[in-house]
Symmetry: C2
Subunit: 147 residues, 2 copies
């Protein structure tokens, strides 16, 4: 439905972050896919796939069967936006020339060096933002909440 976020981040990344933030806010109660879907407005069938991906990488823990659901698998101050992004749709720094020019092997040209420096700046923002920081931010709007 909605396309990419800011023309940069995939829909999947947006969904994964919403789900993780929701779980971070519910540290004690298992959350079912249906519950997370409702809170985050992510289509539940697709959310289910995203949660599977997060489970495979150990970001969340799952308990199957009746009264099962998902739980954050780490302390919120040990998990960053970067961890989530890398799990579902990895940001990859430019390390080799996209044109595969042999002389650019060791050193990217200025164009790709600049593009990589843009990626680096994103990486820095994401690596330094923990879920705890997101929740304790002085920002008046609470993530995912409409009041």
């Amino acid at each position: 439905m909605a396309s990419k976020i800011g023309g940069m981040f995939s829909q999947t990344v947006e969904y994964a972050l919403r789900a993780i933030v929701h779980l971070a806010k519910q540290p004690d109660a298992l959350q079912t896919t249906a519950q997370i879907s409702k809170a985050t407005q992510v289509p539940s069938a697709y959310l289910s796939k995203v949660l599977q991906t997060l489970t495979r990488d150990g970001l969340v823990e799952v308990k199957r069967g009746v009264s099962g659901g998902y739980l954050l698998n780490k302390s919120p101050d040990e998990m960053t936006i970067y961890d989530v992004v890398q799990c579902v749709d990895p940001l990859q720094r430019i390390r080799t020339c996209p044109l595969e020019l042999s002389s650019h092997r060791k050193r990217l040209c200025s164009l790709h060096a600049k593009m990589d420096s843009a990626l680096e700046s994103i990486e820095t923002v994401f690596r330094t933002t923990t879920l705890t920081e997101l929740m304790n931010s002085p920002n008046p709007s609470i993530p995912l909440c409409n009041v």
Copy 2:
């Protein structure tokens, strides 16, 4: 074929930047689609579409017919990476809540504020990099050239 650059920039952006850089390096001779395609290794039929987009926005100038081709329409020190990106696949800052939560209207929640700050840092890198800077960079590898 190759997917997204760094999991962030579209293939189209990469192609457009290669084409523009090539034109910047040839300020005096019109370049045909075939010539640009060869130099940049961008599939010529698709490159043609990209060049049309760049033409519509006035970034390049076109001359049709025999001995026609493309030319940069501005001085290289007046054109930035940002101009090219905005033309073909615009980077859009997050100004309204993607969940459309009414209470987030005026102020994004911390999650989306962080994502936007990542976009802001990219925007800054791109806005401050002119084509001239790319060409005059002390970087030993020359854009698009294999020597």
